[in-house]
């Protein structure tokens, strides 16, 4: 065990929370935001479908899927930048698990 510099530990937490905050803002805008402005958005059409309907039926879901994959990839990169080794994680995780 070695102590991680406080600056480094805080930087790790900040990088993770910042990206999650950004994703959740996008999540809110494409779902709740679009519903709040459904009436004015309905005058715009996309692929023959009014925009408010398109976002509900396809646009929001596609954005959600994309955000989840971006999160998985970005998180892996952050872990790598801070020298986290997934093999080590696996070993620690299976040892630390409470089984009873």
């Amino acid at each position: 065990m070695k102590k991680v510099d406080k600056k480094m530990a805080d930087a790790y937490f900040r990088a993770r929370t910042l990206s999650i905050t950004i994703y959740l803002i996008i999540w809110f805008v494409v779902s709740f935001g679009v519903v709040l402005f459904a009436e004015p958005l309905s005058s715009i059409t996309f692929n023959g479908i009014p925009l408010h309907y398109y976002m509900g039926a396809q646009g929001a879901i596609l954005t959600f899927i994309l955000l989840l994959f971006i999160n998985a990839i970005v998180s892996d990169r952050i872990d790598k930048r801070f020298g986290i080794d997934e093999k080590r994680n696996e070993a620690i995780s299976s040892g630390k698990t409470l089984d009873h």
Partner: protein, 552 residues
């Protein structure tokens, strides 16, 4: 017995044989197999298993029908049931995995150091999963009822026997791999008819692109006939109902015990994040198709069925009238079936559409097998959650801590059988449409687990009395609102029973925060444990600093 019956039945029997074979091959031997499948499931397969676990009869049978009947307002279900995965994956899944327990009540009990909190959470798990499984059993009743051309209630009873036997057998380990197979079958069954319909109606086999065309034609038909407005927002309920329902389904998704437990079956936090991403991709295939399905069905009904002579209706109508889910009444006695005279339950739209579109007996049989896969896989996951709450959180952790593994497995299996039978009896006379019953389960989860887990993971000051107050308040507010709105006609801002979760969650968070602040802070050890969840496995938060585990 006609050819249709034989084809559907043999497809169902063949897929069942496959599931039972897989469950038998992976039979649970140890407790950790029974609850968390030995914790080594690869993320991509876990994603499929989450998909099957998650996509229930409500998604498979009910979703497209709900969109078809509600138009734009039905899309709250589509966005709500997918958007919740972001809350779950970003805010809870990885952290709960690092904590490493068997069940959600166990996390709550240990994080808040409170036996009472664990018991309340176990009770909430049972209530939520039980409500949810009523929807599943009533769904399998519709499928079996149509297949055997008997009343849906008789179909439900047959479904009970199948599900009880099947989920008591394998435990989590068996169920994980069966669910992977069930995902593959249910998604093929869903996509085949929608692709054929796209080809029939638009000459383009890619429904996600081509249904825009059908949507514009529906818009024109709506205007010509003046009967309904499919695309106009908030015709079936207020804007606030839409938002409340969407929130309820999202927060409920993040708090459903049988889905969260799937994140315990992977090896690390990283694997939990990837599981969430794969899961939503696999789920998205169905959720992106449901609105296309709805548009195609509605278009066919509007152009081929409405406006026909009553005596001249196609053969499929008779079979569905037998199940009690379709009624046709010639209100104005003109011998013609008007659009308004066709009363179709939203639960049968998906199952009936292949027949409506004349897609042939094989596709119809495939749909039946897919619907059974959806109902069975979710019911299996729910029953495991109920059985874990009873046998692990209540029996083992509170009543008999010295129970042998064998005894605990036996308690687990028996609780599955009993829970299925009771849920089945309730499902004989379901209190609502499948999507509505399922929405109540989500409302209860968003009023109880979502606040408890969110604060438990992200707010170290939250304590035992706080979480107890939160869960009790949340459940009470949600249940009261559901009953008042459904039976008492009471609503706030036009929010009906299915949107109750928004009040439950708000009340639970307020109660948790207030009571936590008024009572003693959790011990230093617990507070550090909570901060520890923000870092990957290799980092540990202890004594006010982060430590890196770099030994080999």
């Amino acid at each position: 017995m006609d050819a249709q019956f034989l084809v559907s039945l043999s497809l169902i029997v063949a897929t069942f044989a496959l599931y039972i074979g897989i469950a038998f091959y992976n039979k649970a031997k140890a407790t950790s197999d029974f609850y968390v499948a030995g914790r080594g499931v690869p993320p991509i397969f876990n994603g499929m298993a989450i998909g099957a676990d998650w996509m229930s009869a409500a998604s498979f049978i009910g979703l497209a029908g709900t969109v078809m009947l509600l138009g734009y307002d039905g899309l709250a279900y589509i966005m709500g049931w997918t958007g919740g995965y972001l809350l779950l994956t970003f805010l809870l899944a990885a952290q709960l995995r690092k904590y490493g327990r068997y069940t959600v009540p166990e996390f709550i009990g240990d994080r808040y150091k409170s036996n009472a909190a664990r018991l309340i959470a176990a009770l909430a798990t049972i209530i939520i999963s039980f409500t949810y499984s009523i929807g599943q059993l009533s769904g399998s009743g519709i499928v079996i009822g149509r297949l055997l051309e008997v009343d849906a209630a008789v179909g439900t009873l047959i479904g009970v026997v199948l599900i009880a036997f099947y989920s008591a057998f394998g435990g989590m380990k068996g169920i994980t791999w069966t669910q992977v197979a069930q995902y593959v079958i249910l998604i093929i069954a869903y996509l085949v008819p929608v692709i054929f319909m796209a080809l029939q109606l638009t000459q383009n086999p890619i429904p996600w692109i081509s249904y825009g065309e059908v949507i514009s034609e529906i818009k024109t038909l709506d205007q010509e006939l003046g009967i309904s407005e499919y695309l106009v927002p908030f015709t079936e309920g207020s804007k606030w109902q839409f938002i409340a329902l969407m929130f309820t389904l999202m927060a409920g998704t993040a708090g459903l015990p049988h889905v969260i437990v799937r994140f315990y079956t992977v090896s690390t936090m990283k694997a939990a994040r990837w599981s969430g991403a794969w899961a939503l991709l696999f789920i998205g295939l169905l959720y992106l198709s449901a609105p296309a399905y709805a548009a195609f069905s509605r278009f066919i009904l509007m152009t081929n069925v409405a406006g026909q002579a009553i005596n001249d209706l196609p053969a499929w109508t008779a079979a569905w009238i037998d199940t009690g889910k379709l009624s046709i009444a010639d209100g104005n006695n003109d011998g013609i079936l008007q659009w308004s005279e066709l009363v179709i339950s939203n639960d049968i739209v998906v199952m009936a559409t292949p027949e409506i579109a004349n897609l042939g007996i094989f596709v119809i049989g495939l749909m039946a097998a897919g619907a059974m896969a959806a109902a069975l896989s979710t019911a299996g996951g729910l029953m495991i959650a109920i059985s874990a709450a009873l046998s692990h959180d209540i029996y083992y952790r509170s009543i008999n801590p010295n129970a042998s593994e064998k005894k605990r497995l036996a308690v687990g299996r028996w609780s599955i059988v009993i829970a299925t039978v009771i849920a089945g009896l309730t499902a004989l006379n379901p209190p609502g449409a499948i999507t509505q019953i399922v929405a109540w389960a989500f409302a209860l989860a968003s009023g109880s687990f979502f606040p408890a887990l969110l604060l438990g993971v992200w707010w170290k000051r939250s304590n035992g009395p706080g979480v107890i107050a939160g869960m009790v308040t949340g459940l009470t507010v949600t249940l009261t609102y559901i009953f008042l709105a459904k039976y008492g006609g009471f609503t706030i801002l036009g929010i009906i029973d299915t949107g109750a979760g928004v009040f439950g969650a708000a009340a639970a968070i307020a109660a948790n925060v207030t009571v936590s602040l008024l009572t003693k802070a959790p011990s230093k050890e617990i507070q550090e444990e909570v901060i520890d969840l923000r870092y990957p496995e290799q980092m540990t938060y202890k004594d006010g600093a982060v430590w890196m585990n770099d030994e080999n």
